[in-house]
Subunit: 136 residues, 2 copies
């Protein structure tokens, strides 16, 4: 009897924990707080005349970095689709996530990052980088 | 005996589900894909001489929008901590997430967004906006 009581109690606790975990997971794509993580926002404007092929090569090379540099905890990117005419010519946005500023500091001089710089550099007209630690 | 067996089995299934949910949740802050969502990246450079109080007021007013505008599915912000000297004077970065471009289109002319514009406008030296749909 006692064992069954304990087992039932355990099951109830587990169900509660599952509901909490599921709720947390369902919130994560939108409102889950990433407070404390560092976002590294990189904007590119390519030189006039850069071929679509070269631009695709750059995006692919950038997207290959997370597999080579373990300090990169998150990576996403896309091309400008804003409608306010305030993008100042920037067409590509890449957002890297680091768990700490130390990880960002190790990423910057990383040989694989440097090698990527040599791929993208010749094609860039402008680059803008802003980092921020996600506030509560 | 049967009931205890069922209870134990249930507990094992629940533990498995919990581990899966916890794993999913732990992945979400970093490598979880938000593919298809729209990120709305806003950079501010305040006019020289803008008081810390006014800047704090702007950040607070911006952070209040998600509670007033249901189309905003995610919101985060922070101040520049980059070390590459490529932020072009921008000091504040706000990233809003919308599930669709339609939600972004409804946000832009929203009266609460317009009201925020009146709060921040007088203090801005430069603003940059770039939107992107998160690529796979």
């Amino acid at each position: 009897m006692m064992k069954r009581f304990v087992a039932s109690g355990l099951a109830i606790v587990l169900i509660g924990a599952m509901v909490a975990a599921a709720w947390s997971a369902s919130e994560s794509p939108s409102k889950y707080s990433h407070a404390g993580q560092l976002r590294h926002v990189v904007l590119f404007k390519f030189k006039d005349g850069t071929s679509a092929e070269d631009i695709a090569k750059v995006a692919k090379a950038f997207a290959a970095l997370p597999a080579k540099i373990p300090q990169i905890a998150g990576f996403e990117w896309g091309t400008d689709c804003s409608v306010e005419n305030r993008s100042q010519g920037f067409t590509h946005c890449f957002v890297l996530t680091f768990k700490t500023q130390k990880d960002r500091d190790e990423y910057l001089p990383h040989p694989e990052h440097k090698a990527f710089g040599k791929i993208v550099g010749p094609h860039l007209d402008k680059v803008l980088v802003i980092d921020y630690v996600v506030q509560e």
